[in-house]
Subunit: 360 residues, 2 copies
């Protein structure tokens, strides 16, 4: 995001991959990089890999990437573990692959970071190092959720569990621009999640954010109004705005329910020979299910609202998911227009101030 | 719940069914009553049906229930519509079938109400008319959620979107006793829903409730601690405690996702003749799916914490769901021990006061 100002000559983006945070070790991450390079070489200026050189070199060799002109290892032997507390890592893991990766953006040497590591540390580290864009006080984590017929963006999925109405309004703006970039929708429909669409239902936070959002017509925010849980998978909106507490619980519960139903089908279809035969005849269904609901294609969750792109991938991401996250990152860097975002946020903040003055 | 004191001679419960609130009209409700009476006659002292006599009599006749000794119509021609605002109905619909049904409990003529009508009015009306039990300030709506292997209780699913820590603690107690009655579990495991089980994650509300719940060991509350969205369908706990804002969104989103996947399977399995053949061979899977995840058996959501039993059924409940709700209601009245609940709540409130004094 900073590239416009600091590197006017820089057109293609430079990305840093934290190679050390995955549950499966750096093997899957490097394999993901190989996959991405098969199709994306022309869209990348540089791909840094932050991690232990002694571990990475043999894996790069295995993948035929030792001499790849776009790749460069940023060596460090410090790693943040999954169960470490963010505040501890900020103090004691300054040389970790994750923080060294973020530092590259801070120093203007890269535009985006991708990490599968400790989410808390990634959020704390990047917020502290990169700071929020003008007008935004807290970043938000956005997740792309697949449905039968389309995809929608859920945010915030956990960066800010104590949102203010202003934070929710910023989430709407950040999410709308993100949907334009990643879902390729001209005018994404934005809904505010609550527990009943009649006026008066919900909570204080939602009422206040709803009042502000209704007034943001000038910045071409396509605000569809209040939505309920029923509406999420019914295709009513492209961006679902909620606070980080609700969003995180919702995301994890949906993942859990989806796996539950998958396991149920697997168990049921193998109960007797007739059913196994039925499953064989209809194996296309399961293939489509895997593809349609696969998180791989949109596996990077960006932390929006910072001076720089930070993508979080699941700790259990395999090569396909890593490649998908790199692709998603490139799509965002291509299209996401930071200047408009900053001016939209400034406009919203002005409206918020006016509304608050009226109420005083 | 009041029957112990006011009708010591009364052993079997008297139930009132609001016949007018269903999306399908009173036909499905009366059919549900017929189904329930096939097996439950020996467990009911009286079954009142609140609604329009002129409409109900022919339907009762069709169902062979005109002369049933347990049935009695409470006539009224006023009905609360689904889109009416609770505050308006409290003022202008005093003679509605729903409010007349609740009045029967207030007057000590019945122990439980079942309604498919307007949720807001049912909650507002019953809270106002029946009041909360000693020590509890806000009632909570509990829902039984089916999973592949078991069932769990989610509460609050929408009665109180602005919970305090004390409300959450009461929900844990009310939910634990409800689980004992309806899931027939001796010592239900109770979890508090948050966004990360490490200490320090989550929000203020959760931290405070967690601190209190950890200290409630004397009342035999089997508190399992903090849980995440991932844990809901993984069978970790029997009661999931959260505030009404989160719970309502969660319940509706899960329903929406489940329907989405059902529609997906239906669509996919009819795409070509081979898949249709596969579906035919494995039709047992779909039958089990319908049965296992059917809401019918546990379709009544009780509003817990009131001086009387109020059950809300889905507006779209058909006969099977109505019969299931009546059965659930009888199970609760059989087992749920109000005296212990009140004494547990009193104990919890004392602990809360002690904790707050220490913090002051």
């Amino acid at each position: 995001m900073q590239s416009d100002k600091e590197h006017p000559e820089q057109t293609l983006p430079r990305i840093v991959i934290d190679a050390m945070g995955s549950d499966y070790g750096p093997e899957q991450i490097v394999a993901g990089i190989r996959l991405a390079l098969e199709t994306e070489t022309h869209r990348i200026a540089k791909l840094f890999i932050a991690g232990n050189e002694a571990i990475l070199n043999p894996i790069l060799k295995q993948n035929g990437l030792s001499e790849h002109p776009l790749l460069e290892i940023i060596h460090t032997d410090q790693v943040i573990d999954m169960d470490e507390k963010p505040m501890q890592t900020l103090k004691h893991k300054k040389e970790s692959s994750m923080f060294k990766a973020i530092d590259l953006i801070k120093q203007g040497q890269a535009e985006a970071v991708l990490s599968c590591g400790n989410t808390g540390s990634l959020m704390a580290g990047s917020t502290l190092k990169l700071r929020t864009i003008p007008g935004v006080t807290r970043p938000a984590l956005a997740s792309v959720i697949p449905t039968r017929t389309h995809r929608f963006i859920l945010m915030d999925v956990g960066a800010n569990p104590n949102s203010t109405a202003q934070n929710l309004v910023h989430n709407a703006i950040l999410g709308s621009h993100f949907a334009k970039a990643v879902l390729k929708i001209d005018s994404p429909r934005v809904g505010l999640l609550t527990i009943g669409t009649e006026e008066g239902k919900g909570n204080e936070l939602v009422h206040k954010a709803h009042e502000i959002l209704k007034q943001l017509t000038d910045i071409r925010l396509n605000y569809s109004g209040l939505i309920e849980g029923f509406d999420l998978f019914a295709g009513k909106v492209d961006v679902v705005v909620c606070d980080g507490f609700v969003g995180n619980i919702l995301l994890k519960t949906c993942e859990s329910l989806f796996l539950e139903l998958k396991d149920f089908l697997k168990e049921q279809f193998s109960k007797n020979w007739l059913r196994r035969l039925g499953a064989l005849a209809s194996q296309g269904v399961f293939k489509t299910m895997r593809e349609q609901f696969s998180p791989d294609k949109f596996s990077g969750a960006p932390l929006l609202g910072l001076n720089g792109w930070v993508f979080k991938s699941h700790g259990s991401s395999k090569a396909g998911a890593i490649a998908g996250a790199i692709n998603m990152c490139l799509n965002c860097l291509d299209v996401y227009d930071l200047k408009t975002v900053v001016s939209d946020v400034a406009y919203a903040n002005e409206r918020i101030n006016t509304i608050e003055e009226v109420h005083e």
